[in-house]
């Protein structure tokens, strides 16, 4: 019991990894293996099949949003349906932040995608379920930033 997410991966239909978050320590080799297996399994699934798979001792929950697959591995006891909503909530937060989020936003602002995830999940457990609260703290973080002008006055390259 006490299930939680072990990892979260975002990858494109073409098999390009866009985000990887690991909630338990794994070696680089193990990570590569997981990434490869997930892409192989998930990308091969025909449309309109169920969103759950069994992989080793993990439950895999995945969902496609436009060109991106969101894929996570759960320990045995975790709730699959609710995990689908964790993925959905993350998409909503990205959407709220970027405004109509697309794959390109995540490519060019990868660090933001990680920060947003951190506001929402910690150690594979959901940290804040309120969309307002998460968006609020992201907003606050942004106000802490220096202004664009301040940056532009510095060398860009």
């Amino acid at each position: 019991m006490g299930g939680k997410m072990r990892f979260l991966l975002l990858f494109s239909r073409q098999g390009k990894l866009r985000l990887q978050k690991w909630f338990t320590p794994l070696t680089d080799r193990e990570k590569k293996k997981v990434i490869r297996d997930m892409m192989m399994m998930v990308l091969a699934r025909p449309p309109r099949t169920c969103n759950f798979l069994q992989w080793r001792d993990l439950k895999i929950v995945y969902k496609r949003y436009a060109s991106l697959y969101f894929c996570t591995g759960l320990e045995d006891q975790d709730n699959e349906l609710l995990t689908l909503e964790v993925l959905h909530r993350y998409v909503e937060l990205l959407d709220k932040y970027f405004g109509n989020v697309c794959e390109l936003d995540i490519i060019f602002n990868f660090e933001k995608a990680y920060f947003i995830l951190d506001e929402f999940l910690m150690g594979g457990e959901i940290l804040e379920t309120s969309r307002m609260a998460v968006a609020g703290s992201l907003e606050e973080a942004d106000t802490l930033q220096e202004t664009m002008e301040e940056y532009m006055s510095r060398p860009a390259y």
């Binding site: 019991m1 006490g2 990894l17 990887q20 320590p25 794994l26 070696t27 080799r29 025909p46 309109r48 099949t49 169920c50 969103n51 759950f52 069994q54 080793r56 001792d57 045995d76 006891q77 709730n79 699959e80 349906l81 609710l82 689908l84 909503e85 909530r89 709220k96 932040y97 970027f98 405004g99 060019f108 990868f110 660090e111 933001k112 990680y114 920060f115 951190d118 910690m122 150690g123 457990e125 959901i126 940290l127 804040e128 379920t129 309120s130 969309r131 307002m132 609260a133 703290s137 973080a141 942004d142 802490l144 930033q145 220096e146 664009m148 940056y151 532009m152 510095r154 860009a156 390259y157």
Partner: protein, 912 residues
């Protein structure tokens, strides 16, 4: 809302990313190398970089790393960013540190310092960043540094967001290093977080995750959370969909919190307090009722959230095993079985599997059999079909076994390759478990081999043989059926194996026209050339058995054995069998042949190795406890008694044709099969004992290690997580190789071993070992070599202590099988010498030399050896006088040191 440009404007980064995009792999690498060189020169340059540039370059490095390239610098710059006062710089620094965890201790010290500063900064955003970093890295070092600080933050008067982060951060550390997180005085205050009426839902949600995990380990300490959880749950369940404002998700009030509360309650038995229990049952009923209400939204998010709570409630109902609620849950799941949402059908099948194992709902689950069979046949999605097969397996009992097995068999013909092996195991187990007449069982297994021969593992065909051997009422039928099956022009090799074995044992039961011995033999032999080496080896054993069963086949079979392709076969195993069997059939009298090749005695009772295999495939918990008990009970019926275990073992060894047939055939070395390394060919039947093999010694070794007295390798210890194999050899010193195998899919962290020589052993043994790697990957094995020097004779065993973190902290101590006889140096001597020394001294195997032609009585064994210790050499002579008729033996040892003879005597007497 802000648009994309709202980034922090690292223009250089954006340019770099767009540069990399859509480049060929080669061009990408080229561009990256150029960038790495650029960054390196900036970092090394004379000009101090400003915070912005540092941030930009660190971020570029991170991007390159995430693309899958190695990064071996930049850590120091990232650490510098941690102490920046600018939020974005700090944030990038922490992100880099979290992703590229580094074990350099100097760096860790600096990182910990920065974290410490941020934790005490009283700036909530900085505190959260620091807490995130601790949770993301989650290493033992982090736990050591911060485990005592975080509970303080959790209960302090800080912002909710900080409390939430502190709760989950602590949870993360607790999972890595439970020994370092000491709740003690904080316990009541943490439980109290559930109580606070005005508390922000978010804090409660995070706190419950922590409490759930902690109460699994210390349920008593957190017992008070049960009633608090029930009242929280009750308030949510009865609230209107808008009461909880932003914590309402698509018209479902607080789904995350509800599920977590229901999960927490699953750590405890049903509440004893009647009022609390009543309130909880009311909640569960309300949740079940709501499932029948029309949805408040057509969005899938609404139904997912609602049903997530429902499934969590059903898990709790299953946990409580309460009849009324179980039946209601089962009916609800029954509706889902036909739902148009594939996800719900999948989950319903999955949950029903658990329901099937409760006596209260088993019958209710069974009523859905037609729907489930239909799912197996018509579902488009293989993972749903797999769940349907699982459920059929779980709902199977005597009343429906024939129907279910027949459906599974017919599904196997078209089943996806990925699930065939598991299906085969399941069919085999069900057929055995619910066999009323064994002819049905035999038919089923032979059908399995016919339909899915490639997926029939050794365990399955070993098992059918065990059962046929143990049940004389089915032997004739089995022989007849395999004979018929073998008639097919193309039959699977597994069929040949079963056929060869069974005809070799029971061919005589059906040996009338038209199945005369020679017809049987020719039928088997017609398959011989198409078979692999192990199967051929088995067939040769069947042939020698034929010679015994049917003397009239002797000439034909001897001819076959004698031909060059057998007796000079390039495969050693086949050649040896041919030579030995030919010789045996020519020299031995019919009486001897009849004894040596006697019918196999019944196999001892044991858990089906198929069940063990299925459990291994699916992981623990996949096969419920009730099933195990059942199979043991029923396995007992069909296996008969297990008194002749040792005999059986010896016979099995004889069939496996070990290098010294005379000794093994007579069953003197009854421990032979235990030690026999299962090589592919020789192990055909020895492997049947694989269940008894590793399990039994592991248990015994933990007590006294006697099993390793005469063996130099084997399995020292095995549980769900870890297997320890051992191999030792003596050369001046004793060299012991320990193999630690991680049986799980997850990594073991902080793996360490220590060998100690307690008490008076310290001056007697000198043990040297190299430390092992602290990380053992899932499925991997690591080796450790011990060098053990014997300083003087000893009787205790050194202790091996193993500590590692695999899911929880594991700590075990084993006795190493180091016994005095491991230091034997064999000595050759003549009869005269032997008895001369015998007279001088006041007592085989175990390292000393076995001497032939020394003792005037050839039945007796005598051995001689010198135990090499650093201080002195102790000469030892041994004499073993068996008396076969009385089934007794006399063992005499004479050594030049009394304590040695005493210890050897203890060790040896345990061996018989």
């Amino acid at each position: 809302m802000p648009a994309v440009s709202k980034g922090d404007g690292m223009r250089g980064l954006a340019v770099f990313i767009s540069d990399i995009r859509n480049k060929s792999k080669e061009a990408e690498i080229k561009r990256i190398n150029k960038e790495l060189a650029n960054i390196r020169s900036k970092f090394k340059g004379d000009k101090a970089l400003d915070g912005y540039s540092k941030k930009k370059y660190v971020c570029k490095l991170l991007f390159i790393f995430l693309l899958g390239h190695d990064i071996d610098f930049g850590h120091m710059e990232a650490v510098n960013l941690l102490s920046s006062n600018k939020y974005t710089e700090k944030q990038i620094g922490y992100l880099f540190i979290s992703v590229l965890v580094n074990s350099n201790s100097e760096l860790i010290r600096l990182i910990n310092n920065a974290i410490k500063n941020d934790l005490s900064s009283r700036n909530p955003t900085f505190m959260c960043l620091a807490l995130h970093c601790i949770a993301n890295v989650g290493s033992r070092e982090m736990a050591e540094a911060f485990a005592s600080e975080i509970p303080r933050i959790l209960v302090a008067d800080t912002m909710d967001s900080v409390k939430q982060s502190a709760a989950l951060c602590l949870l993360r550390l607790y999972k890595t290093s439970p020994d370092l997180v000491l709740m003690g005085e904080w316990t009541s205050r943490v439980v109290h977080l559930l109580n606070d009426q005005h508390m922000f839902q978010g804090v409660v949600t995070a706190a419950i995750s922590l409490i759930t995990c902690l109460s699994q380990k210390n349920p008593d300490e957190f017992k008070t959370c049960v009633s608090l959880a029930v009242s929280r749950l009750s308030r949510i369940v009865s609230s209107a969909s808008t009461d909880l404002q932003d914590y309402t998700y698509y018209f479902v009030p607080a789904p995350w919190l509800s599920c977590k509360l229901l999960r927490l309650l699953q750590c405890y038995p049903p509440p004893e307090d009647g009022a609390v229990k009543g309130r909880l049952v009311e909640c569960l009923e309300t949740i079940l009722n709501k499932a029948q209400e029309p949805p408040k939204s057509k969005k899938v998010q609404h139904s997912n959230a609602k049903n997530a709570i429902l499934f969590e409630a059903i898990s709790l109902i299953i946990h409580y095993d309460e009849p009324n609620l179980l039946v209601r849950a089962c009916n609800q799941l029954g509706q889902f079985l036909q739902h148009r949402e594939t996800n719900l059908r999948y989950l319903a099948l999955e949950s029903m599997c658990t329901l099937a194992s409760s006596e209260f709902s088993h019958e209710a689950v069974k009523t859905h059999i037609e729907t489930v069979i239909n799912a197996l046949k018509t579902e488009r999605d293989v993972s749903v079909r797999q769940r349907a097969a699982d459920l059929l397996y779980a709902m199977c009992d005597r009343s429906n076994a024939k129907q279910i097995v027949a459906e599974m068999l017919s599904y196997l013909e078209t089943a996806d390759y990925s699930i065939r092996e598991e299906m085969v195991l399941k069919v085999a187990i069900l057929a055995e478990k619910y066999a009323v007449d064994y002819s049905w069982y035999v038919d089923t297994i032979l059908n399995l081999i016919r339909i899915a021969g490639d997926y029939v593992s050794e365990e399955v065909w070993y098992r059918v043989i065990q059962i046929v051997i143990n049940r004389d009422d089915v032997q004739g039928y089995a022989a007849k059926t395999v004979f018929e099956a073998l008639q097919a022009p193309a039959c699977h090799e597994n069929m040949v194996k079963v056929g060869g074995y069974i005809l070799g044992e029971f061919g005589n039961l059906i040996a009338g026209d038209p199945r005369s011995p020679l017809v049987q033999f020719n039928l088997l032999h017609s398959k011989f050339h198409l078979c692999s080496v192990p199967t051929r080896a088995l067939l040769l054993s069947a042939y020698i058995k034929f010679i015994n069963l049917f003397p009239e086949t002797k000439v034909t079979i001897q001819e076959v054995l004698r031909c060059d392709s057998q007796i000079r076969n390039s495969d050693v195993e086949l050649q040896q069998r041919a030579v030995e069997y030919l010789k045996l059939s020519s020299i031995a009298s019919t009486d001897v042949l009849a004894t040596v090749l006697e019918e196999m005695p019944p196999f001892p009772e044991r858990e089906s190795s198929i069940l063990a295999k299925l459990k291994k495939k699916k992981g623990p918990g996949a096969v419920s406890v009730t099933e195990l008990d059942d199979s043991k009970r029923e396995g007992g019926e069909l296996n008969g008694g297990g008194e002749r275990a040792a005999d059986t073992a010896a016979m099995a060894a004889s069939n496996a044709s070990t290098p010294s047939p005379s000794a093994d055939l007579l069953g003197i070395r009854s421990s032979a099969p235990m030690g026999a390394a299962p090589a592919a060919a020789g192990s055909l039947l020895v492997d049947v004992f694989s269940e008894a093999g590793p399990a039994a010694p592991a248990a015994a070794v933990n007590n006294d290690g006697f099993l390793f007295v005469c063996k130099n390798n084997g399995v020292l210890f095995e549980n769900q997580l870890l297997q320890i194999g051992i191999k030792s050899e003596y050369r001046q010193n004793l060299r012991m190789y320990l193999f630690y195998g991680n049986k799980t899919s997850v990594q073991f962290a902080s793996f360490s071993t220590t060998v100690s020589c307690p008490g008076e052993l310290t001056p007697q043994l000198n043990v040297q070992s190299k430390p092992v790697e602290p990380l053992v990957e899932g499925g991997a094995q690591i080796q450790q070599v011990l060098n053990i020097e014997c300083l003087s004779d000893f009787s205790d065993a050194p202790l091996l202590n193993i500590k590692f973190y695999g899911g929880a902290l594991q700590n075990l101590t084993l006795k190493l099988p180091v016994t005095i006889n491991k230091f034997f140096q064999p000595t050759e001597m003549t009869s005269q010498d032997f008895f001369q020394r015998w007279k001088q001294l006041s007592l085989l195997g175990l390292g000393s030399a076995l001497l032939d032609n020394v003792d005037p009585n050839p039945e007796n064994y005598v051995c001689a050896g010198v135990i090499q210790t650093k201080g002195q050499q102790v000469g030892c002579l041994l004499r073993l006088e068996p008396n076969a008729q009385a089934q007794m033996y006399r063992l005499t040892l004479r050594c030049s040191k009394e304590s040695v003879s005493k210890r050897l005597c203890e060790l040896l007497s345990q061996q018989f």
